[in-house]
């Protein structure tokens, strides 16, 4: 079987009977079993996959309304933060080592209803705490382009699964960059939607005012398809709002925020973003400079607000109703719980938490100003390409600083789309991100598709 890289190829192949859905599952499971060294999966749901595949093969025998199944036969891997009924869900933490949920997340249900086949649950930083995948209680995931490097985090296994062809698409969560940064390190497309665009129901909560439910694919068009299936109200998450698809403006303007090209950015990363800028400019997109003056405070604000919310959300794990007790928390979870408890504690609340919430308002003001002038922003995803395993593991602050270009979008609540753009001199992926005003996903998709079209982007797998 030829390696499939898009939802469209998969659908068309199934409909033309080039292969069956069961054969697709054989193929992906074969690739997963050949690449266990990557440690991308925590649970492989082969029984579920074969039963869903058989359903699809049955459907294909009938005159089905094919439009009802936009993900027909697309093999999906879910980050192990997404509850999957009857299939173990650990959040990559020993606390939930043997937890089997009684219901599935909205996104899991919607993907399934659209015809996707669930192949398994992917590794990640435990509770989504990390920017390298190394904080998993079940061992780190390796970057498929070079196994000495991290794949990024926290949605490490999901990004690796797509990059290495272990699944066609994958889900992820992005609280401070956890979809965009691993997408960037692994050379795939990753979407962090607007806060409130996609339901968080049934997804283990990290930081409730920041958590966005995203996805990975090889092309912008595929990520757009997944977004359109998963977005919108479900009656279970009251932050979700239905927003109609909006046709992007005819003439678009992109801003370059100068603060995202500051000291510490790798030359190759900077150069690759500027090359993408050139592509847009030569396609009639007006490029202007903008300023987001409070960008430098993003890490401080993020690492106050986020651990505060983490400490509250992880308070429920007491080992009484499900899971193991609090002694099972790993080092990073304990660190964030304590940091969050500290910034919320009597005597420190005003100086840290309240102050951070106010600076957060100023950051929102910066972006509002910028979006009066431009339709989208272009920026690097991370100051560097993938770094070596162990390089930042012993210094939490250094690891936190890896979120410098991604955390703002979460604090402000706007969408971000990470797009691959080539490779650095070490053979590791490079890319950029587009950010836009709240609910401007359609504009980001239009720009992303334009970029992939004019550069004649051909996705390729990290492992053949």
């Amino acid at each position: 079987m030829d390696t499939l890289l898009t939802i469209k190829e998969t659908r068309e192949g199934l409909i033309a009977k080039k292969f069956s859905a069961v054969e697709l599952v054989d193929e992906y499971l074969g690739r997963i079993n050949k690449n266990t060294e990557l440690n991308a999966f925590l649970t492989i749901s082969d029984e579920v996959a074969y039963s869903e595949a058989k359903e699809i093969d049955k459907l294909l025998e009938t005159n089905i309304e094919r439009d009802q199944y936009p993900l027909l036969g697309s093999v999906v891997a879910h980050k192990d933060l997404f509850l999957t009924k009857g299939v173990r869900t650990t959040a990559a933490s020993k606390v939930l080592e043997s937890f089997v949920p009684e219901y599935s997340a909205t996104v899991v249900e919607r993907d399934k209803k659209a015809g996707a086949i669930m192949i398994g649950k992917t590794n990640c930083d435990a509770w989504a705490h990390g920017a390298s995948g190394e904080n998993s209680d079940f061992g780190p995931t390796l970057n498929p382009w070079n196994k000495e490097y991290v794949p990024g985090g926290s949605s490490s296994g999901s990004a690796v699964s797509v990059a290495a062809g272990l699944s066609l698409i994958a889900t992820g969560t992005d609280t401070g960059g956890s979809v965009r940064q691993p997408a960037n390190f692994c050379g795939v497309v990753g979407l962090k939607p607007t806060y409130g665009a996609v339901s968080r129901y049934g997804v283990v909560a990290m930081a409730s005012s920041l958590d966005s439910i995203g996805c990975f694919g090889h092309t912008v068009s595929d990520v757009e398809t997944i977004f359109n299936i998963t977005k919108g109200e479900d009656g279970f998450d009251s932050t979700v709002k239905n927003v109609e698809t909006q046709k992007p403006k005819d003439r678009l303007k992109i801003g370059i925020p100068k603060e995202y090209f500051s000291e510490g950015i790798d030359r190759e990363v900077e150069k690759s973003v500027m090359e993408a800028v050139k592509v847009f400019r030569s396609n009639g997109i007006e490029i202007v400079d903008v300023t987001l003056p409070n960008t430098k405070y993003a890490i401080s604000v993020y690492y106050i607000v986020q651990p505060a919310e983490v400490s509250s959300n992880l308070g429920r794990y007491d080992g009484i109703r499900y899971g193991n007790g609090r002694n099972a928390f790993g080092a990073e979870a304990k660190r964030r719980i304590m940091l969050g408890t500290f910034v919320l504690s009597a005597g420190y609340y005003d100086a840290y938490y309240l102050k951070a919430q106010k600076v957060r308002s100023k950051m929102i003001g910066d972006f509002d100003e910028a979006f009066k002038k431009v339709d989208a922003l272009i920026a690097p995803v991370s100051p560097t390409g993938a770094f070596k395993l162990g390089e930042k593991a012993s210094d939490p602050l250094k690891m936190y600083l890896a979120d410098i270009y991604t955390a703002s979008a979460n604090l402000v609540g706007i969408p971000g789309l990470a797009i691959p753009s080539g490779f650095n001199s070490l053979g590791l992926p490079l890319g950029f991100q587009l950010m836009g005003p709240r609910f401007s996903e359609d504009t980001l998709f239009a720009l992303g598709k334009m970029y992939q079209e004019v550069t004649d982007y051909k996705p390729k797998l990290a492992i053949i």
Partner: protein, 103 residues
């Protein structure tokens, strides 16, 4: 430099119901101090008359009817399936009260 003392770390661990060992106390005292010290940069931001942001949805008061919908409920068996520590269908918890000794 903002620093956390060993006592601060023990206090925070107690509030968060975390048991931390001697080695961890030292490690977390150093690490949390350096992180909190980094936050001191926020002191230079003028936030006079700025309202704090706790959420970004712009939504207010999302209402629904207060109705029980069967399909949205777990059965008792399903809801308690995550633990092996049940007594007559109830979760077993550690005693939080002790027997009176002054009787």
């Amino acid at each position: 430099m903002a620093t956390l003392t060993k006592a601060d770390v023990l206090h925070v661990a107690k509030l968060a119901k975390l048991d931390i060992g001697e080695g961890e106390i030292k490690k977390y005292t150093e690490q949390l101090s350096s992180i909190v010290d980094y936050f001191s940069e926020l002191g230079e931001v003028d936030t006079k008359n700025i309202e704090p942001t706790s959420q970004t949805t712009g939504l207010e008061n999302v209402f629904r009817q207060d109705e029980v919908k069967e399909e949205n409920c777990l059965s008792q068996d399903a809801a308690t399936s995550g633990t092996g520590k049940l007594y007559n269908g109830y979760f077993k918890v550690k005693a939080i009260l002790t027997e009176r000794t002054d009787k």
